[in-house]
């Protein structure tokens, strides 16, 4: 679905970053994707392969770190993991006001490459 446009945005950002750092060939891009985000790692990999035909990205590897979902209870301050049942109720005090502190990630961590 939208993974292609996400990947396009990633590669534009990396292209700019490569230019600023005199990198002529990108070897690796590392993304962090939270499990609550709607981007599927497989689809991102597919989009990466489809978009990485130019020489800057030739042979580059896309590494995706998936982050599980973690909540923070506003009432009692507990931090807890949220499992596949997506239960956002505090397991300690049963509070409803829970902030998602991990699991919404959708960012480029770093990239590596060779300079001139």
């Amino acid at each position: 679905m939208h993974e292609l446009s996400l990947m396009q945005s990633v590669m534009d950002t990396v292209r700019d970053g490569a230019q600023n750092n005199n990198i002529i060939r990108v070897k690796k891009i590392k993304l962090v994707i939270g499990k609550l985000s709607q981007a599927l790692p497989d689809s991102l990999q597919f989009a990466f392969e489809a978009l990485s035909s130019d020489s800057l990205f030739q042979g580059a590897v896309l590494e995706i770190e998936e982050r599980s979902i973690k909540g923070h209870c506003q009432a009692c301050g507990s931090q807890f993991s949220i499992q596949d049942d997506y239960c956002f109720i505090c397991p300690v005090c049963q509070g409803f006001h829970v902030d998602v502190i991990e699991g919404r990630e959708l960012f480029i961590d770093y990239f590596e490459g060779d300079t001139l």
């Binding site: 490569a18 709607q38 997506y86 956002f88 770093y110």
Partner: protein, 221 residues
Amino acid sequence: MVQVKLESHILGANDLLARKNRTVFQQNRILTINLMSSPGAGKTTILERTIEALADRTGIAVVEGDLYTDQDAQRIEKKGVKVVQINTGGTCHLDAGMVDRAFQQVVYPDLQLLFIENVGNLVCPAEFDLGEDFRVVITSTTEGNDKITKYPLIFREAKVVILNKIDLLPHTDFSLEQFHADIGRINPEAIIFMVSGRTGQGIDEWNQWLFEEVRLKISTL
């Protein structure tokens, strides 16, 4: 080999534009709603019912998102409010830049309530902040119970969940008990309305609540 640390959000450019939109809506005291659902859940029908009830009490405008057609915009236009169509040309969601451009075409001095009807899709629109005050997600009895657990993000981040086609409940396998349990787990703070866009059942409660929100928006600034 050089490593360049970026830690940059993939949707950073969109988020920046969304913040800009939010500031503009805020300064103009316009309550802005991002209306989302799967195709056919009843976004446009509920919007029609809401416009019929509120158009003489508050200034309304609608931004219509659709892949290719302007059928929904034509329906809204018949209700006598300002509407602009965004055709995404196959893109599965609206983004903040599209909304900014569309807003320029519908804004008028007495505008107080702006609806953004997103592209019918439960996946991608959830990722894109448009600068709205809050999100309203519509689901319907004919879609089955599983949509909520299959697409948790969109339901998690909604302030309001509207269950539509409540009149068809006896003809479906939809379980209200399951619906409340699922929303109660994923988004226990969600405000729930159960309506039928077709018969009008439950629509008054939604409209009254929404009108209160418009009044709050005007008075809090």
